[in-house]
Each structure stands twice: as C-alpha cells, then as structure tokens.
Symmetry: D2
Subunit: 361 residues, 4 copies
C-alpha cells in the first residue's frame, strides 16, 4: 500500500523507526519479560541515559508519547494552586488540546522571541505574580516550561540556559525542558552544551524518541527529588505506562548505542543545511533563522502550490495576503536524493515566481 504520492517533508515522524531499532524488535520479539518497564531492556536504557546525563542519581522513566510526557511532568511538579510559565508558542499551550488545563493547571504566558524566553522575563513574571496586591486572585508560578530546540527550531545558548536555571533557583521555580527534538538541538551548528549540562540546569527534562528514529517513546529524566516521588504511579494514572514497556527500553538502548541517536540527528541537520543554503541562495526570506532540522521559509502561495504537487510541506501560518510561512522538516530518514530533488525544484520555482518572491520582504 503506497500511503502518499508525494515526497514527505512535512514532519519528522512520517516514517517508522530506524532500521536498527526494527531489527532489535524482530530479534527480541519472543523473549519473555515482566511488564510495565520492569525488564532488562529498560534497566539497560536507564543506565545508558544516566551516563549521558553524567548523573547516576537521576530517575529515568519511559513514556509512550510527548503530550503524555508533558502533562505528567507538569502534574508531578505542581500543587493545585500553582501554574506553569511557558512561551506564547509553547507546545503545551498551542498544540496539546488543553492537556495542561485538563490536569487542572493554568499556563502563564511570556511573549517569546524566536520561540525563546529569557531569564529576565521569567524574573519579571515572577515578580508580577508574587508581589501583586491581587496575589490571592492569581495562581502561583512554580514551573518554567521551555523547549530545546524550540518550536521554531532555535536554540538556547549555554549562557541563556544557565541564566534561566539560575533565576529558577533564585525564585524557587522548577525548570522543565521539553526535548522532543533534543538530538537535533545537540548536534546543530552553534549548539554549545551537552546533556550533562542540561541535566545540571534542569529539575526535569525529556529526551524525545518518536521524532528521532524511534517508533514512539520519550525518556523523562527526573533530577529533583521533590518531583521524583510517586512518578511511576502518576505515569500509570495518566495512562502512560506501557504494559509491554520493554518496547521503550529496547528502542532507547539501541538509539544510544554507538551514538546512533546523535548520528541520525546530525544527518537530518545536514540535510536541512543543504535546503537552507539553497533557499538563501534563491533570496528567500525566513520567518525565523535556525540551524536545526526545521526550516521556515516564506513562500508566495503560488510557489507553495507548485511545490506541493510533488512534495508534502506544512503551511505553517499566513505571512501576508499572498504568501505563507512554510515548514520544511528533515529527519533521520530523509535521503540525499529527495533533498536534491527538492533543491532543484525550489531553484526552478524561485525563478518562476521571482516577481512574487520579491514582494514577500
């Protein structure tokens, strides 16, 4: 069954899993293990991830999806009267169908720039809530949620992350980093910190699998012991504990064996770089600049429709009356052949729609 006529650049989860993970699933299929993550595959994956974090004392849990991971993590951090600070374009705010509110908590928004928020914004937000005369009428900010890389594919620098971590410590806030695309961030040009440093800065974060070579699955790292207690029960309560939990352990073990996770993320970033260079050479404007696997060029609508005949791209948002922000995603599965085809067709389209392109800026 051919599921799509067009070549997929619409997202980084259009294929199954990296062949090595599939191979592992096949080999171990008939092994008998206990369920719910109490199996040797999960045990192995936990140890590997503790090493990656440079911290043998963190708890590691595997959950089947990103929305579950976010809502469980937020619920673990907050008491009933507390809320979570998020950038205005935070995934928990805009694309998770009110999942955080459904756990009972309010999201307190900070206007991001290129998807990022700053330590001083967080500090000011805290002040405004906690030093207000109206304090009793306001929720208490207790948790900061950021994404790395952000929804716009941008990166926090080491200094920025450290500053955010410091203000969180000063204000008694927990810091939670959504790493749904962490590998793409860690291997991008300009990335200046590793998972060890991330672990030092966060109270809790997660390493995404589904968008980086796994069939599904996210690995939550819980460092702060105040959050850690009862975490497995909370995962079960919200439906995130797989009966055949070994499927998660198996995939993460394999992803981190021989650096596969980083290799395939690097590949995706390199494929994106090729497209990025082509777009720049063609004089195409970007909604936001970044160095990771998501590209946000602005295309005239006619150019988008032309390219869409052959490629599946995401129409991200309106730019003006005749053009839109387009999202192009690469992944571990993106082939150089498909990238070359896209580049060729972008170049052609840029010529064809040159007059309209000129009007974008």
């Amino acid at each position: 069954m051919k599921s799509s006529q067009r070549i997929e650049f619409s997202s980084d989860y259009n294929e199954g899993a990296h062949p090595r993970l599939i191979q592992k699933l096949v080999e171990t299929n008939m092994a008998q293990t206990f369920g719910y993550g109490l199996d040797p595959y999960c045990d192995e994956a936990v140890e590997i991830i503790r090493d990656l974090c440079g911290n043998r004392d963190v708890d590691v849990h595997f959950v089947v999806g990103g929305t579950l991971t976010n809502l469980i993590s937020v619920a673990a951090c907050l008491r009933a009267h507390e809320g979570v600070i998020s950038p205005t374009n935070g995934h928990i705010h805009i694309l998770e169908t009110g999942s955080i509110e459904a756990t009972g908590h309010k999201i307190l928004l900070i206007q991001g720039e290129n998807g990022k928020i700053t330590a001083s914004q967080i500090d000011r937000e805290y002040e405004e809530y906690c030093n207000s005369d109206a304090r009793v009428h306001l929720v208490h900010p207790k948790l900061v949620y950021i994404t790395h890389p952000t929804e716009y594919g941008t990166l926090y620098t080491k200094a920025e992350l450290k500053a955010i971590s410091d203000v969180c410590k000063k204000r008694g806030l927990y810091l939670f980093v959504d790493g749904a695309r962490l590998g793409y961030g860690m291997t991008a040009k300009g990335s200046d910190f590793d998972i060890k440093f991330l672990t030092e800065c966060c109270d809790i974060f997660y390493i995404g699998g589904a968008k980086q070579g796994a069939l599904f699955g996210e690995a939550i790292v819980v460092k702060n012991k105040n959050i850690a207690d009862g975490f497995r029960q909370l995962i079960k309560q919200r439906g995130g504990l797989m009966s055949k939990g070994r499927l998660l352990g198996m995939q993460f073990s394999e992803l981190f064996r021989d650096g596969l996770y980083f290799d395939i993320a690097k590949h995706a970033n390199e494929m994106a770089d090729l497209i990025r260079t082509c777009l720049k050479n063609a004089g195409i404007r970007f909604f936001v600049e970044n160095t990771t696997n998501l590209l946000f060029p602005i295309f005239p609508d006619d150019m988008f429709h032309k390219l869409s005949e052959k490629y599946s791209l995401t129409n991200f948002s309106r730019w003006n009356e005749s053009s839109s922000v387009i999202r192009i995603a690469t992944s571990w599965a993106t082939t150089e052949q498909n990238v070359n085809a896209l580049i060729h067709d972008i170049e052609e389209a840029a010529k064809q729609f040159g007059a309209q392109l000129a009007k974008v800026a």
Copy 2:
C-alpha cells in the same frame, strides 16, 4: 539478553507481537504517511472493524493503552456531576491508580459475583441514587462499566448482556464494555454472542490488542453519537493520540485479516483448557470457574513455591493461612511444549503436596 529464567505463565503480555504483525511492521517501515491516525492503514482497520461490528456508522479510534482507553471513554461519557457504575473488582477501580478519579469522576461500586454484575443490581443502584432524598448529595449514575471477559475470566451470557443493555436504555445510562481480552471471550466455550451483538448492546466498547497479539493498542468503537463528538480531541488531550498512529492501524488490520485475532485467542483458550483439565483431575479447587485463558486454582503455598522454581505464575490473593489463589495465564504465544511441561509438574506437585491440597477445601 535472556530476560527471564522461568517459563512465563504470569500474564498474557510477556512477549512482543504475533510474528505476522512484526512482519507487517518491517515491510512498511519506510512508507511515508501523515501522522495522528490519518493514514491508509488506520483507514483500512476502521473499515474492517466496522464490518466486524455489523454497523457502518460507528466511529473507531485507536489508542495506545488500556488505562488511557478507559479514562478517555469514561471522560467522554460523563458530565462533571456524573459517576460510573463498576463491579467491585472492576479494573478501573482496583488497578489503574485512580485514573478515573483523576478525570474528576466517582466510581459507584456494585458487589460482583465471579466478577459479574446483573441488570437488576444496576437497576436497584440507579433507584437508590436517583430516588434518594439525599440525591443532591450524591453523584448521578450515568455510565455502566463492565468487562468481558471479566477480571476473573468469566463471561456474560447473551441474555445477561441484553438484560444489562435494556436496563441501561430504560434508565438513560450509557453502557461501556472493556474488551481488553475480548477475543479470548468471543472464542471461549460457552460464549454465545459475537461482536455484532455486542455492538447492538453497547454505547461504547473496545477491542483489546496488547493482550491478544499486538505490541500495544486498543480499538475503541463509539456507537452513541452523543459520545462521539470531539472524541479525537479528547484522545489527544489525554495523550492517547500516537504521532505515528499508523502503527495501530497496521496491527489491527493484520490482526483481523483472515481471522488471526480469533485464531490466536482460540489457541490460548485451548492451552488453558489443557491445564484446566489437569488441575481438575488433580482435585485442585478453583477460586472461580471459567472457560477463558486465565485460570485461578488455589495452591498450597509450598506447592506454589515449588512450581515457581521453574514457572512464573501470579500470586493473585491469599486464600487461607497456608494457601493462595494463583493466576495462570496463557496467550497466543503459549506453546504446547511449555503447557505439557507445566501439566507434568502440576501432577507431580499435586502428589507431593496432596495432604496440603486436601486442606484447601
């Protein structure tokens, strides 16, 4: 890596998936599809299940796990002041870490017999809540939750299910059947209805995958249009919508191709029958009698410990000071060779611990 020294009879989710499903995953791994269940594999599985239900008008949704399926289904059915009726040993009450209460709803318990409740019990419960002077102080019963087969492996008869369905209609109650092990029930001796009849009786039910040959996944069938609205959004909100949703469609398509789902359930029941006969011949008492893949013999503790050296069995509950209810589970993956070994060892143990066995009754 050998994950277990002992032969597994502790549950029906100790292995991966049926080889045909694994084969399908391998073959389709590099296909590109849109995410979130909007793919041809899911489309195909939906059509197959509609045929099974004998109702082209039902909605079918795929969710990654049983607890999620239960909590989403209950949340879809209830307004804030409403509660769900369940047998005292209902899975949602005893083994899901308060997931229903975490969605805001109270479980109203009816004492089951062999895991089953009756139409007249439901009718009486409704009366007690709704005709009480204290009504405003009580939640409104709006949904009935039962399991088929039950947690004890017992079956509702066609007449019993019809009676329950009728009382639900009379009282304005929704009926939700948890079919985590539905296949084992449909193919067991004494089963006298099919999925078409189940569809006629229920407002919503689900067909379990994880315990019957799939890696994971449950298929929810929503018949009542009052519940259907917004169901996909609710699945997403609670974190049950897989990004690579095709994995669910693919598995269910394959499970229902050529009757695989029923064949493997039948196999498990037959394996259980062999063990059941052996237990009966050995004069061993059962906590509950049934015809499906879960057996509940009562073993003297010494006999349990002896058998546990070689087999992984579940110590289900205490029976008296020197014996326990044991749960033995078979599955699609259970081999006749392992069953024969177990039978042989039960016979030996029954001789060895004959004096203690005599004291159980």
Copy 3:
C-alpha cells in the same frame, strides 16, 4: 471596632448588606426551615426572578459567591475537550486564581476593546479553531463568557448583545453572561435592554447580589435545558450549596421587592455621575469611559498619594512612569456627603497637581 480610617471608594463590597436585608434576617432568624435551598424563601425568590426574566421555564439557583458561580456555570456547559471564549480581561481569566483551569478547561482569549468583544470576533475565533488543519490539537470552543457591565464598567448595547447571541446560535456556542454588577448596568445611562431581553439572548447568566446590596450571593438563571440537568448536584459537588440556603433566598426576595435592587444600583450610578462630572471638569483623562459605578481616571502618582490620605481608592494599573489608572467605586452604601467630600478634594488636588495632570495626556 473601626475597621478603616479612610473613606472607602475602593470597591462596591466594603459594607455589609442593605438595611432592609439585615432587617429581614433578624425577623426570620428563628424560623425553622429545611436546608439546601428547599425552603419557602428560596421558592419565593425563584418565582420573582422568573418573572423578572419573563420566562417561567428557567431554572434559578442561588450560590454563595461569584467565583463559585463562574466555575460551576462553566463546568455545567463544557465537556472535557471543550473550552470557553473570554475577553482578555475576563474576570475568570485574570482574577480567579485559575479556577476555570482547575475544573479542567482552557480559556480561549479574544482581545477586548474597553472590555468588550464583538460578534464578528467570536465568529472568527470559532472559524480559526474549527476549520484549522490542527483542529485535533486544539480544544473545541463551546461557550462564550462575557460580563455586563464589563470589568471596565462599559455596557453592551442591545444590538451588540443580539449579534453575539446570534453568532452563538449559528455556531452552536452557549452564551454565559456574568452579571456580578448587573443592576448597575441595567440602570445606567445608555443601557437599552432589560433582564427579559438578556434572558432571551443567553443560555445561562447570573444576577449578582454581593456587590449590590446583599451580604453575599448570586442568582444563576439557567435557560438552556442541556445545561440544566444536574445543576444542583454540580453546585453541591463544588461546595456552592449553602446548608442554610434560605439566607440566599431571603436576600434575593427582599432585593427584588419593590424594585430595591434597581433603586440602589441607580443611586450608585448617580453618585458615580457626580464624581465623573467633577473629574471631567477638572480635565482629568479616563482610561476608559463608561456610565456605571466604576470610574477609571488617570491620576499623577502624587495626586493619588495625596487623595489616598483620606480616601481608599484602588491603584488599578500603571499608566506611565509618573501616573496610574485609578479605580473609584460607588455602591448602594455610598453617601452623598462622602461623594461631596471626595469631589471637593479632587478639585483641590487637580489644582495642586495641575502641571502633572497636563503630562498625563
């Protein structure tokens, strides 16, 4: 015990209740009635309010406070995946400590102008949510929440309210009007509809008591039968059902006897008019113009501090580096003597701080 040295203009709930209500409480104190609102006082108040609404078919419930009233009303209207549309300055969003989110629902914001939103904004918001490709990732808008008068004391016109009601009907949205200060709105200059018309337009609304002469209490009018079912149980569940519910019925009966409710609101508006005229004559700019009992002049900080020596006023928000938006509230209890004193002192202050006042604009 003298509770405040300064004359109160900071809010409309600084005193107890109108003397006629106190008198009623005293007279009926030893009467014996059944609890939970099942008493003749509540029965009478329900009938009076049905007459006011021009609709004998509405349900009327009494709840002890505004936040409870809002959260119960929203919870009654929404299924789990649904959200409530509100102006950006909606009371439920900014001053109720996340109460709506604590019931599990997301608030979908529309930027208001002078605290009001329009029918076409609601229509567009609905479109954006429901016709989006990302729909499954978004909550479903099902309820519109507005306040009349608004938090800024402004009023919807009959035509505006009708247009909002029409778009709600077109889109299948419920309309909920928060009438915490409804009396002030109904009796203000420029008000062009009555409670009968409001009843026609809304699915649910409430008539505030605490800010308009009662010790406490709000009267919820539920017109839409889809919402009505189980409402009393929901009130009890959220803790809003008073054991001595007669206290609510008694107060509302008395408030609506001989038009007291409207007379005292009119008085408050007249007192506000006197202050408004004074402020205008003194050339003082307003943050927002209105005709009800809340005034929002912009004062230089020095002028605010000077007046604050004698009067309790609310510092509502910063305007610029040297001035703030001030809120002055009148109520049923505001005396002409105190108003005259305030007017005199505003006039003096306006002269004293004339140079700074000139810089506000």
Copy 4:
C-alpha cells in the same frame, strides 16, 4: 411566612444564627472594611482561635461551607497520585456529590465501627497499598480523614486519637479532622481532650460554625507548614474566599467570646440527653450509642409516621422490613419546651406501638 408546620428535630441547621451573632451583624453592618478576609474582624478571630489551639504558629482560614472546606483541605494535602483514607461512612465519601473525586483524588475506604476507624486499621491499609506488588497500579495513601464527632455522633478518645496521630507520623501520612460538629464533641460526656490536644495531633482540622450557632462558616486550622503554602490561593481558586470575608471573622469572634460556642453545644447535648433517657426508659433500641447531639433510635415505621405528624425527624436508613433507623438532632436553638413535648409523645407512642417495638430487637 411560616416555613414549617412541624417542630424541627431533623438537623442542627434549621434555624439562622445565635442571636448574639445576629446582633453583631446588625451593629457592624455599615462599617467599611477591605474584603477577602483582610479585615480586623478576621484578624481578631484568628488570634482567638490560635489561643484556643494553644499554638500561635498555626494558620487559620475561614471558608463559607463544609464541602468547600473538605475539598480544599484535601486538595492542599495531596499530590496528583495520592489518595485520602476515610471511614466507609465518611461525609466526603457519602454525602458530598463526589467533590473529592472532582478534585482528582481517590478515596480509600476503611470499614468503620460506629463511624470510627483505628490506628491499626490505618497502619494495615498503608501496608497493603505500599508493600503491594501492584503498587504502581494503586494510588499512594497520603492523608487520613476522620470526623470528630463522627457521622454517628460517636467520639474518639484521647488515646485513640493519639494512636492515630502516631501511626500517621510513622507512615508519613497527614491527619485531617473534620470538626463540622466539633463543639458538640468537646462538650459531650466522655470527651477527654480539648482543642489544644487536637491541634497537637493533627496536621489540619476545622472548627465548624454552621451547625453550631453561625449562619455559615468553618474555620480551618493549618498546622503543618507543608500544607500551609498557598492555602489562601487555593481557597480562592475553589470559590471559598468570601468577598465580604468579615462576616466569617465576625461570627467566629463572637462564637468564641465568653465561651459561647461551648455553652450552646453543651445545651444541645443536654437536650439530647433528655431525649436519650426517655428513649432508653421506653426500651427503644439504638442503632449506635453516643453522647452528643445526634440520636439514632430504631422506630417501627408506624411509630415513625405517627411522630412525624408533629415533628420533623430524619429517616436515616432501613433497619428491617418494618422499622427504620431515625436521626433526631438537637442544636443551640432547641428549646426545653419542644423537647418535653417530644418526650411526652415518644412515651405515648412507645406504649401505642409496644408490640412492634418488641420486634425490632
């Protein structure tokens, strides 16, 4: 308006407030204060209650009703995966419309005897949850809820309360005592501890007002600092923070001035004693024996109907096919004249229905 033809013995909240509280309300009605409990009346009441507790370090909050008080207190104590232990007849379980579940938490039931549970039962319950193989599938017990006096009017002894408190400390459980009728308990025959001792034993408890002379209102005492943080915000979030909060402070100040609270409770207990003696002399069996203001005699149905012509009594539960458990309540407002009338009529009825009374036992 005469609200009831019959003399009320059905509950302890059929009248308004003690005349001294009404007098206080009248006197202070026009005083101007800030809202939300930030007023001198509340300040005074807090200080008085701290003295009563023998602990100047406790937080005291006033909330408008008992269900709100219970749900707020439970929500303050529990993280998402945690549950509350309660006797099977706990008010939060049987008469609050699922309010605890609506906050997201499961109630873990212990079978009470005469409405009481024991330290060793709590200890065993904790063991069963926390040492279970199935722990991840179970909520974590974190809070114990008991009522003093219980729903059956019975009392914990000092030794029993101390033992419960000790097991809570050993197991890391919070102890919450619902004192909706605390005064009746403290002044009953056989009561052997005071509020100071209660404060030592609990993490949080409340002193009921509505059933003991106030119009409404409960005073929550929070001793444990882990719970205290953000409590006022939580009260506001759930709608329990009165705008005219002074009404609560005023009533509690007056209730505890000159020991009024205890005097009126003592009176109610004495009135109950008179009825109790009469019932015993008439050879009437009790469903449960106690020394407080709630009596639970078992009446033949005919005798109940006869007495109900003149008196309002509560039909509490069926006893057998021809008799019921009846609840008779006295209060601060119960007059000796009415008690004497009731006694006379019980004596007459006992003679008339003597044959049926003999069949009860």
